[in-house]
């Protein structure tokens, strides 16, 4: 097996909670708590999970837009977590990001041309003339026209802006694109356009995606492999076929069964979870899901289950699949 393009080991992000007179450090929001995964070149890894489970935090840590509390990120053989800030800045040429909010992620005071040119200037790619040409080329590639270059973001619809966001991410010919909920803010009909565009680009430009979303349908559609997160932890990681056909983790099962399917004839047994997602600042002990889990055992409150391979290529972090327990 070849070396994966991106390898993440034991990544953690704790946000300190400060209180008291001098801002004493009184606790942590464990936004991301010890997750590991890898992404192979050319594939799409989907990350799903409910709001606040740490998807964006993970995405940002990969590019060190947030400094990880702990853990190692290796990209293309280079360990990103121990290079200097300036080197990291340069390394961002290879990893780019597409953001959720197509309205907030474009500077309202810059023209599209300026927005798209910026990555080239920052990384000192080409001369003004070739940069301009590249901007126009990429506008065409994402389905806009070069006459759009002189316009401002507010003159575009949400879908068009997301195309601009994607074009910007592509300007430096990156290998890896981290897309943080790129279609969540879009209408269904537009969402399909953007998803198609992303798939086309992947093929054409041999891109690798980390695709973060909360919509399981979207993730299934675009991903080769899917990771499910719950409260800062990766609870299940598998190929999308395997995951959707045969989810192992009780949370994944509940999640899949909760998704409304646009087919009135489709009938299934829904697993409705009790209660709400606990707060990451005060997560349950042991398996963080045990408070809502229909298959809870004694050990679940005590030990943190590790992500392990239950079937080939299908990893799950649940005591139900713990070999020690099975004998």
């Amino acid at each position: 097996m070849t070396e994966p393009l991106l390898k993440v080991e034991g990544l953690k992000k704790y946000f300190p909670v400060r209180s008291g007179l001098l801002g004493k450090h009184t606790g942590n929001v464990k936004a991301v708590d010890d997750i590991s995964f890898f992404v192979n070149e050319g594939e799409t890894l989907g990350i799903v999970g409910e709001s606040g489970c740490g998807k964006s935090t993970t995405g940002r840590m990969l590019m060190r837009l947030l400094e990880p509390t702990e853990g190692k990120v290796t990209f293309n053989g280079k360990e990103l977590t121990n290079i200097s800030k300036d080197e990291m800045r340069k390394a961002r040429r290879e990893i780019q990001m597409v953001f959720q909010d197509p309205y907030a992620s474009l500077n309202p005071r810059h023209t599209i041309e300026k927005i798209l040119m910026e990555p080239l200037i920052v990384h000192n790619i080409g001369d003004p003339k070739s940069r301009k040409k590249k901007v126009h080329d990429f506008l065409e590639i994402v389905g806009l026209s070069s006459y759009h270059a002189k316009r401002y973001p507010h003159q575009f619809s949400g879908g068009q802006r997301q195309r601009i966001g994607i074009a910007r991410a592509l300007m430096t010919n990156p290998k890896l694109i981290i897309a943080d909920e790129p279609v969540s803010a879009l209408d269904v009909s537009i969402q399909a356009q953007v998803l198609n565009l992303m798939q086309d680009l992947q093929k054409e430009l041999k891109l690798t995606y980390i695709f973060i979303a909360h919509d399981l349908g979207v993730v299934r559609h675009i991903s080769d492999r899917v990771g499910v997160m719950y409260l800062g932890r990766m609870v299940e990681l598998a190929t999308s076929e395997s995951m959707y056909a045969e989810p192992l983790h009780p949370y994944t099962k509940a999640l899949l069964s909760a998704v409304p399917v646009p087919d009135p004839e489709f009938k299934r047994e829904q697993i409705i979870l009790e209660g709400d997602i606990p707060s990451p600042s005060n997560p349950p002990t042991g398996c963080t899901f045990h408070t809502r889990c229909p298959f809870k055992m004694d050990i679940c409150a005590k030990d943190v289950p590790q992500l392990q391979e239950a079937k080939t290529g299908h990893f799950v972090a649940c005591h139900l699949y713990n070999e020690q327990l099975q004998h």
């Binding site: 920052v122 590639i141 507010h154």
Partner: protein, 296 residues
């Protein structure tokens, strides 16, 4: 196949080549109050520029035989106790009031911005110190601070201007600090970081331009209050010195003639009010045009 579908898309806006500023102007243009305000301001700016050529008299052409003459064909706004033409003096005075307004605000904007940006962008202990300094300045009764500053420097128009600039520093500083803090969290800043942009470039290319709108609004409104503050200092004898036709000083000087020669007070008072109303209207209009939060 996918890309070509966009060409027949209906564009969101009909006009081509518009920018945020042009948009703001469009919305400003629709606001009658703002236009009136801008009109008044422009009028006074015009007076300030060409006043000396327009005014029938200079600022200190005394004719003691024509003291306190009521408004007439010869003296439109009457004469003051030196027999000087009040109309001419008000025209000349426009320059002083606008100058005080503009320069004091520019002073406080520059100093306030620098401090505010440093505090907002670098945070931590620098922010602590600068914010405390702002707190101290704000806790100072501002008019007393102005009086103290003028007392130190000596009363003159320039020093009044400096005093007013000083008392406004913390207002701008805090405004910009909070603006920087909120813009810092905007997603386009993260996206600029994500493309590998340097902090300093982010500061100048993204944060600063986007914090300008509220500063322009606040600045316009601050010009209005600076003009009033200058008048107050003039009233206390701490502003412009004779024979400069500063409106506040004209008011103060005329106060004893309120009964005998009310025009000596009415016209400078109206001039102040009109200018200040103009800037306030314009500032409100700019706020509506530039500050998206206020947009409906």
């Amino acid at each position: 196949m996918v890309p070509n579908s966009t060409n027949n898309q209906v564009m969101a806006t009909k006009e081509t080549s518009t920018g945020p500023w042009r948009d703001a102007w469009r919305s400003f243009r629709k606001n009658k109050g703002a236009l009136a305000g801008a009109g008044i301001v422009l009028f006074f700016v015009f007076l300030a520029c060409v006043g000396p050529w327009l005014a029938p008299q200079g600022i200190n052409e005394q004719l003691l035989t024509d003291r306190l003459k009521p408004p007439s064909g010869q003296y439109w706004f009457g004469t003051d106790d030196f027999g000087r033409d009040i109309f001419s003096r008000i025209i000349h005075g426009a320059r002083i009031s606008l100058m005080v307004g503009f320069f004091s605000v520019i002073g406080s904007v520059v100093v306030g911005s620098i401090l505010g940006i440093i505090a907002g962008y670098y945070g931590k202990w620098i922010d602590m110190i600068i914010s405390r300094i702002f707190d101290i300045m704000l806790a100072f009764p501002s008019i007393l601070l102005a009086i103290a500053v003028v007392s130190v420097l000596g009363p003159s128009l320039q020093n009044a201007l400096i005093a007013i600039a000083i008392i406004n520093i913390p207002n701008f500083g805090r405004l910009i600090r909070s603006k920087v803090l909120s813009i810092k969290e905007e997603e386009y800043i993260t996206s600029a970081k994500a493309i590998g942009m340097r902090d300093i470039r982010i500061l100048f290319s993204h944060i600063l331009p986007n914090s300008m709108a509220p500063v322009i609004v606040a600045g316009t409104l601050a010009i209005a209050s600076a003009i009033i503050e200058a008048a107050a200092l003039g009233f206390l004898g701490l502003g412009a010195q004779a024979p400069a036709p500063e409106w506040g000083k004209m008011l103060a000087d005329a106060r004893m003639y309120l009964r005998n020669a009310p025009w000596t007070m009415i016209f400078p008072g109206l001039a102040i009010m009109l200018t200040v109303v103009g800037f306030n209207l314009m500032g409100d209009g700019l706020r509506d045009a530039l500050d998206p939060k206020m947009k409906n």
